[in-house]
Amino acid sequence: MIDFDVALAAPLALRARVRAQSGWLGLLGHSGVGKSTLLRALAGLNPAARRLRVDDRAVTPAALARRVSLVSQTPALIDHWTVARHLRRVARHHQAADLAGELIGNLGIDGLRHLYPPQLSGGQRRRVALALALLRRPRLLLLDEPFSALDDDSRHRLYPKLQALTRRLGCDVVLVAHQIEDIARLCDQVAILEPDGVSYCGALLPGLRRYQGQASSCSVLLGEALSGQAETGLLPVAFGGRTLWVRTPRLPPAGTPVRLLLHADDVALSVAELEGVSLMNQLPARITGVTVQASGVLVECLCERQSIQARVTGLSQARLGLREGGRVVLLFKASAVSLLTEF
């Protein structure tokens, strides 16, 4: 359970109430809206916060500081301690020597032990700060854009490790990230911060849709992994009575419930099922809504009782005669589907 209620004092007067399930919570908001300020208050670093309630109890900043770890946008480290000394002292102080070795390996900071913080690169500094934050075995971990200096590859390798770790340590996470993809991959829930407070707090997809306006839309599909062949890199997923094909480097065990992400822009429509095409997924569906937008026509379909969106051009809409109640086939490649579930 992530449950807090914070009122910040002027100059950034802001009241933020969030109540969400345990796990990873994405915090969305435009630049300068107050995300970092809110996280600092939650970490007990804003003595001017007018109100601090966590789990429905008033808490002092000092009490918060003990249980909450923050990795800020530009993490502060102790300039006169080496990385090794940071790790050693924090581990000693929180009886976490065992955890230290694991974190060092997972975050790739082994080679940095002898360096002082001013010698670290931006990405290295963040990884060190992340390791230190986890070493404290916090109840709540606050991450303020921790991945922005990592390239896509390293990021994707890091995510499952992080999720496993936080699950094991039993700590909830609030993640601020400007890459929607990071949020979508890691979080089950999001909160949207606006200048007058938290305007949304709940499930991931409605949140993302709300936050991004109609600019980009995506669907989350729920299914169950079937057993596939690892060599092909293709995972068959039971989706209602049908099978979807998902490209993924590692296959989850059969029977795992999986969450799939599909962007409306990656879905094409056809009036009938096709032969002789490389598109692996063809789903017959019923059109439940057609919305004309600046960027195209958003077609909302229902298939196996789940909602899937496709965006096509106005020309195609006219040509195929798409309208509510009509029947279409949804076409998308196995590579268009991403597996959100980390395992």
Binding site: G44, A65, R66, S69, I78, H80, H86, H93, R136
Partner: protein, 223 residues
Amino acid sequence: MPWLASGDAQALLLTVKLAATTTVILVALCLPLAWLLVRRDPRGRGLIQSLVMLPLVLPPTVLGYYLLVAFSPAHPPGSWLARLFDQQLAFSFSGILIGSLIYSLPFAFRPLEAALQQRGPALDEAGRVLGFPAWYRFLFIVIPGIWPALVSAALLCFAHTLGEFGVVLMIGGNIPGETRVLSVALFEHVEQMNYQAANRLALTMMAMAVVTVLLSGHRHDRF
């Protein structure tokens, strides 16, 4: 003929003892006090800052005179102090130590406060984010973080106590082995127009200072 007169060698030892004790006590005292002022930022902060500067404003002899009055066992502050220390404060090592402490206070306090004000809060927050308790942050993060300022304050204190003279002369009374420090001895040599001894003593003191400063400088370049 030895380089220093025998009395001067004794004075040298006493001086180093006085200067070192003063420096250690002052730094140990001013660090927490200044940190408290910076952290809590109490209402009376400006007043405390200026009170701390007062010893500097009075000519040392005059300050010494007032201290002498305060230490006098005839009336209250002095009689209490005498009971507390179990001896008369004036004309004893404890007495000149207290005088030195008061007179050198601004040199320790001010630079430390300025440094803590500029770098302290950020250092403290870094430690807080790592989950260390307040005392630990102060000892192992904030203090090493302002090291150059600390060295500079300690040096000012030490050097100033070496050369300090008016207060010590007034409340110490120039008693060999007890309160006769180098500066007093040097003053006497000059006063007696004993120029060779004076020059030698001055050179010795300056050499001590140069060595102290050079030694203290080593840590500067760690980063």
